[in-house]
């Protein structure tokens, strides 16, 4: 009987550990798997430098998404918003030099506030609101860019100002340190500020928080504005890394961001979450893509593997007691 109890306790503790640390466990398994499968190249410094360059954009985007998901919302427009922000930033840099990056930061914040206002004040579900703005923004980007890319190095020709600083920022190690800095700031906002605490509370029980005086509509609008701020940073990092704003920049990235959030153990029902675990979730996705390439598997399998990873991670880690009804 005692042995049975002990075994049960150990099993429960292991289950609890797994649930709380699924992001780290998935990453570890992926690293070991590809180390074996893809060989020593996978663990080479060169490869991890490459991974560190790939991670920041999706990582920062996913950090922003964590804020939306914690509230119980979703933002499907982050990919398109990143595309448009990158385009405006590139144009701004071409015309006004370094200060032009402000356009890249402000554009997604405005989009975020519009998303938030449509959702909060007109009470259109965030899924529908951001799905609509996703499509609209991408179309607007196509229309205003006429389908052509904007290269940030062109700024040199027109203004004489060098934009090497931005392309440098897009390289390792700067790009990685920027991502780490953003992660630390996001972690502080999420865990240490009244905003972060109220956000988790709203995700858990909006009606009660509202009953005690918190103004929900401006708060929700601010949440989407904050998501936009992270999109802006991701857009600039992406622009620096790629060196150009194209009409397909950020396309499909919202799904990677959501996947990273889910892999990080944040339930889509809201109320709980961790930006650090989201970032680790994003790293898992990058490692997965990288490992598949190095293992010589056809890239088409990448999405199959991503989907499977997501299903397995959620099946193992979703705390069904915490979220009540699974819909």
């Amino acid at each position: 009987m005692d042995n049975n109890n002990k075994r049960k306790q150990v099993k429960e503790r292991f289950g609890c550990f797994l649930k709380n640390n699924i992001a780290f466990v998935s990453l570890l398994i992926l690293i070991i798997l590809f180390w074996i499968w893809a060989g020593p190249n996978f663990m080479s410094r060169k490869n991890w430098t490459y991974i560190s360059q790939q991670l920041p954009v999706v990582g920062i985007l996913a950090i922003g998404m964590t804020f939306a998901v914690t509230g119980g919302y979703i933002d499907l427009s982050v990919g398109s918003s990143l595309g448009l922000a990158g385009y405006f930033a590139a144009l701004g840099i071409q015309r006004y030099g370094p200060i032009g990056v402000v356009f890249g930061l402000v554009t997604p914040v405005i989009i975020g506030f519009v998303n938030g206002a449509l959702f909060a004040y007109l009470k259109i579900p965030s899924f529908v609101t951001t799905l609509s703005t996703q499509v609209i923004i991408r179309a607007v980007l196509m229309i205003i860019s006429n389908g052509s890319a904007v290269y940030i190095s062109e700024g040199m020709a027109t203004t004489g100002k060098s934009n090497n600083w931005l392309t440098n920022i897009g390289k390792f190690p700067y790009v990685f340190f920027i991502a780490l800095f953003v992660l630390i700031i996001a972690h502080i906002i999420y865990n240490k500020t009244t905003f972060g605490w109220n956000l988790r509370a709203i995700g858990g029980n909006e009606a009660v928080v509202s009953l005690f005086g918190l103004q929900l509509m401006p708060f929700k609008t601010a949440v989407f504005g904050l998501v936009g701020f992270f999109v802006g940073i991701a857009a600039l990092v992406n622009l620096g890394r790629v060196g150009a704003a194209t009409t397909v920049s950020g396309q499909g990235m919202e799904l990677d961001a959501i996947s990273a959030v889910v892999l990080g153990g944040t339930p889509l029902t809201g109320g709980y979450g961790s930006v650090v675990k989201t970032f680790v979730g994003a790293l898992s996705l990058v490692v997965l893509s990288n490992g598949i390439t190095l293992a010589g598997i056809a890239p088409s399998w990448n999405n199959v593997a991503k989907g499977l990873l997501l299903i397995i991670a959620v099946a193992v880690a979703l705390d069904r007691k915490k979220i009540g009804i699974v819909k």
């Binding site: 605490w197 509370a201 009660v208 928080v209 009953l211 005690f212 005086g213 709980y272």
Partner: protein
């Protein structure tokens, strides 16, 4: 000082569409008393209390608190005026910890944005000590890991944490077991001892007789009796609730 009226409701009426929930309900709450509000389901007890707590506004009638007329009916104003309500469903954010629930809507900050956890912990411990709740081991655990009695203690603690004058308790023992009910009843008496005036909604007449000083009977949205506990027998009370 004896029988000093702290809250006075006059001709409170409330209608939901075609349904009259309250019709000219008047009553007084005396300082440092426990006033039990009893009535059948749908009698209008909770509606009346929600108006006093600022969750609903009345269509007609007035409320005087400490001799001053209340002009604005919202939760924030009522809380600032010294009225707190412990809701039947407790109104806890269960994915958050006890200190958050105690401080909900008024989180203390450092530098204006950072949550002051030390202050929250200190105050929460003080409140739980006042309520003589010693069973909560981990203050920072989610409240959904607490027992029903512990959750109730947090909800009551929130009402008394700010030195409130009036505490409204809506069916505080409805979902509790025997031991937890005893604990909550002791807490209510402790609250009174500490100077709060209490409005207690309860279906349990035994608890009403144990705790209350006076009883207000509501039937079909009207008040039918407002009496001292000793002036009415339990049979008369049942008759007032059911027949009027």
């Amino acid at each position: 000082m004896k029988n000093e009226i702290i809250l006075s409701a006059t001709n409170i009426s409330k209608r939901f569409g075609g349904v009259i929930a309250l019709h000219d309900v008047s009553f007084n709450l005396v300082k440092n008393e426990i006033l039990a509000v009893v009535g059948a389901n749908g009698a209008g007890k909770s509606t009346l209390m929600k108006i006093i707590a600022g969750v609903l506004s009345p269509d007609n009638g007035s409320l005087m608190l400490n001799g001053k007329k209340i002009e604005k009916f919202d939760v924030f104003t009522m809380r600032e005026s010294g009225i707190e309500m412990v809701y039947q469903d407790l109104a806890l954010v269960k994915n958050m910890n006890a200190p958050y629930n105690l401080f909900i809507g008024r989180l203390p900050t450092k530098f204006g944005i950072f949550v002051d956890k030390a202050k929250m912990e200190k105050k929460t411990k003080e409140v739980l000590e006042r309520l003589q709740v010693k069973t909560i081991q981990n203050l920072w655990a989610d409240t959904n890991s607490y027992s029903g009695g512990q959750q109730q203690a947090i909800a009551i603690g929130r009402a008394i944490a700010w030195g409130r004058d009036i505490v409204i308790l809506d069916e505080p023992t409805a979902a509790l077991g025997v031991l937890e009910t005893e604990q909550v009843m002791e807490t209510i008496l402790e609250l009174k001892k500490q100077g709060s005036s209490i409005i207690l909604i309860s279906h349990n007449l035994e608890h009403v007789y144990k705790l209350a000083d006076r009883i207000l009977v509501i039937r079909n949205g009207k008040n039918v009796r407002e009496v001292e506990k000793d002036e009415i027998t339990i049979d008369e009370l049942i008759s007032a609730i059911t027949i009027g």
